[in-house]
């Protein structure tokens, strides 16, 4: 995707429209802090920062108030993941020492009203969708995709090791401490996020719960890791393509709005 346009009006209210990744180099400290904070929010399903994915449509910093607008690839993107992203944005921006009022607005989504209202009110997901959600499923959902991320990362590490001439046997027996620093760091970060140990002597390639994989099962395990990586990559491709189709590359937000021909509710069925 090409770079979105950026507009920084020379007024006391600083407003930026476009991807937050474009903020680097702009000498607005608070905007920079907002962008950095948002870069720490991942799409749990795609396992990438929302800033890289182009989901941040606009940031407005007005004194100590922050407003962030988010957009997603489709009108029907799963509401649970949408909630997690809006909620994570809200929390990370509220944690900035100077921030006062934080408003995160999800746009163009079938459940935007419930999500925006629920997150703003500090509700739990299940409260925002009465009768439609379990009480505690959301954290397990997040963990499930973090575990997929760990498997996919192992597949990437294997590719790099093979390129460096590592044999299958050496890979199968590798510990975190034996891996090149860059590969080890990625696995350590993911294991730590999942609450798993990440010592130098730990096996590098484990199941999604951190358990060692027996030598005879390693080949199958690494195939599973690879399939997971292919799946996550394919999803990224679809979502990025859909986002671009929906809003256009480099869209400034002016004509990306979906206009609905809403009918009276009585017209249904």
């Amino acid at each position: 995707m090409s770079a979105p346009t950026i507009a920084v009006p020379l007024s006391t209210e600083t407003e930026i429209i476009g991807s937050a990744t474009e903020l680097i180099g702009i000498g607005e400290q608070r905007l920079g802090e907002v962008a950095a904070a948002l870069a720490g929010v991942l799409d749990p399903e795609l396992d990438r920062p929302i800033t890289e994915l182009g989901f941040v449509r606009g940031i407005t910093v007005s004194d100590a108030d922050v407003k962030v607008r988010l957009r997603l690839p489709t009108y029907f993107c799963a509401p649970n993941f949408a909630w997690l992203m809006v909620d994570d944005c809200q929390r990370t921006l509220a944690a900035l020492p100077w921030s006062r009022q934080v408003t995160v607005v999800l746009e163009d989504h079938f459940a935007a009203a419930e999500i925006n209202r629920g997150v703003a009110a500090g509700e739990r997901f299940a409260d925002a969708f009465p009768l439609l959600a379990d009480a505690d499923g959301l954290q397990e959902l997040r963990a499930k995709f973090l575990r997929k991320g760990l498997l996919a990362a192992q597949a990437c590490a294997v590719t790099r090791l093979q390129e460096s001439g590592w044999t299958d046997i050496r890979i199968a027996g590798a510990t975190l401490g034996e891996l090149p620093r860059a590969q080890a760091a990625k696995l350590i970060r993911r294991r730590t996020t999942l609450g798993l140990t990440a010592e130098a002597g730990d096996p590098a390639f484990t199941d999604e719960h951190g358990a060692p994989v027996p030598a005879e099962a390693m080949r199958d395990h690494l195939r599973r890791c690879r399939t997971t990586a292919v799946g996550v990559s394919a999803n990224n491709q679809i979502c990025q393509g859909l986002l671009a189709a929906r809003y256009g590359d480099g869209d400034s937000g002016s004509d990306g709005e979906v206009r609905f021909v809403d009918r009276p509710e009585g017209g249904i069925r």
Binding site: F125, F129, V230, G241
Partner: protein
């Protein structure tokens, strides 16, 4: 039939629609959002000359369908997969009844599938019987993300769904196409989770479960299930158009499917009118796994392509395949496709 370099490819398009998302039929913002989402899929993954104006995309004609499938699209047999979406579209989005009106004008060329929803309860079982009788159903399309009143979806593991699957077995409806969509209940679980297909496939070994989009966006979960359940198939709708703009990803996804499922359980579907079969088929027949991925995934042979484009679905739906498009060298693999020829034609 598509022919290239002396090879005939019998084409069964396992996933086609005849929908109406005209403004007149669109009931609310959900229906509007749904068709816009479909349209973004077309715009995202199609060659530019295959992108329609939105107005045509919302409601195309019977003539368009016949032209795009049969006149120019190489399709020998198309299989309608209904999607009712009754909460979004006043007269339904894409119904068995509307599909059937076209199919009756093209005997032998179009197969009409039905649909059911376990939330219709006991009464729905009777409706399914009548639908099966009226259209001589051989398959159904299940859309687990369909909204119904306060409910936002269902699962194949729901107790009532078991009764419907048993009814399908009774009625000789062997092919169960499953489409995973978003917003399934409960909303905070993974909307695309395919675990319920594992359960159903084990409980009903006499039925074939064709998972549309090959389980995407849960490719990996689908692959584990399909490896263990011999009656689970991958439908390539949505996957196939990757071939144009993202050929490397197409190679990887197809490579994974071939590794976990084998070539007899992967089937072509254009998802018409999101994509048109002509360019998909032409590009697929010309396609090869990129060289640097061949050590991982091998190569696509002509016979693998023939199976995927038509022979596998012809087997599931008992479709007669012309002699020249059959594969005779591997009677064990596709013998039942070439009905009557597997024994006599072996070794030819």
């Amino acid at each position: 039939m598509y022919s290239k370099d002396g090879v005939d490819y019998f084409v069964v398009d396992g996933h086609i629609h005849f929908w109406d998302a005209s403004e007149q039929n669109t009931a609310n913002r959900y229906g509007e959002g749904f068709i816009r989402c479909f349209y973004d899929y077309q715009r995202n993954l199609s060659p530019a000359q295959w992108v329609w104006p939105l107005e045509k995309f919302r409601k195309y004609s019977e003539g368009d369908l016949v032209h795009d499938l049969f006149d120019t699209g190489y399709v020998d047999v198309g299989i309608f997969q209904p999607t009712y979406l009754s909460e979004f579209y006043t007269k339904g989005f894409n119904t068995t009844e509307d599909n059937g009106l076209i199919a009756e004008k093209h005997p032998g060329r179009l197969i009409v599938n039905g649909s059911w929803d376990p939330r219709a309860g006991e009464a729905g079982l009777g409706d399914l019987e009548r639908l099966a009788d009226r259209w001589r159903l051989r398959g159904v399309k299940l859309y687990t993300a369909e909204w119904r009143g306060d409910s936002k979806g269902w699962k194949l593991t729901d107790p009532m769904a078991q009764e419907y699957l048993a009814k399908c077995a009774d009625l000789g409806i062997r092919n169960i196409h499953v489409h995973k969509g978003p917003t399934i209940w409960p909303l905070n679980r993974d909307a695309f989770d395919v675990a319920d297909i594992d359960h159903a496939a084990t409980a009903f070994p006499e039925l074939n479960f064709i998972v549309e989009h090959s389980g995407l966006p849960r490719l990996e979960d689908f692959c584990w299930i399909a490896t263990q359940e011999p009656n689970v198939y991958a439908g390539l709708s949505v996957v196939m158009p990757f071939i144009h703009s993202r050929p490397r990803y197409f190679a990887q996804v197809l490579g994974e499917l071939l590794y976990w499922l084998d070539e007899d359980r992967i089937s072509f579907g254009s998802d018409y009118a999101i994509w048109s079969p002509r360019w998909l088929i032409e590009q697929f027949v010309d396609f090869q796994i990129p060289e640097d991925l061949q050590s991982e995934y091998g190569v696509l042979t002509t016979d693998v392509k023939r199976k995927i484009l038509g022979l596998n679905l012809a087997r599931l739906y008992d479709i007669e395949v012309p002699e020249r498009a059959r594969i005779h060298a591997e009677p064990a693999a596709v013998g039942s496709v070439a009905v009557g020829s597997a024994a006599g034609g072996a070794g030819r």
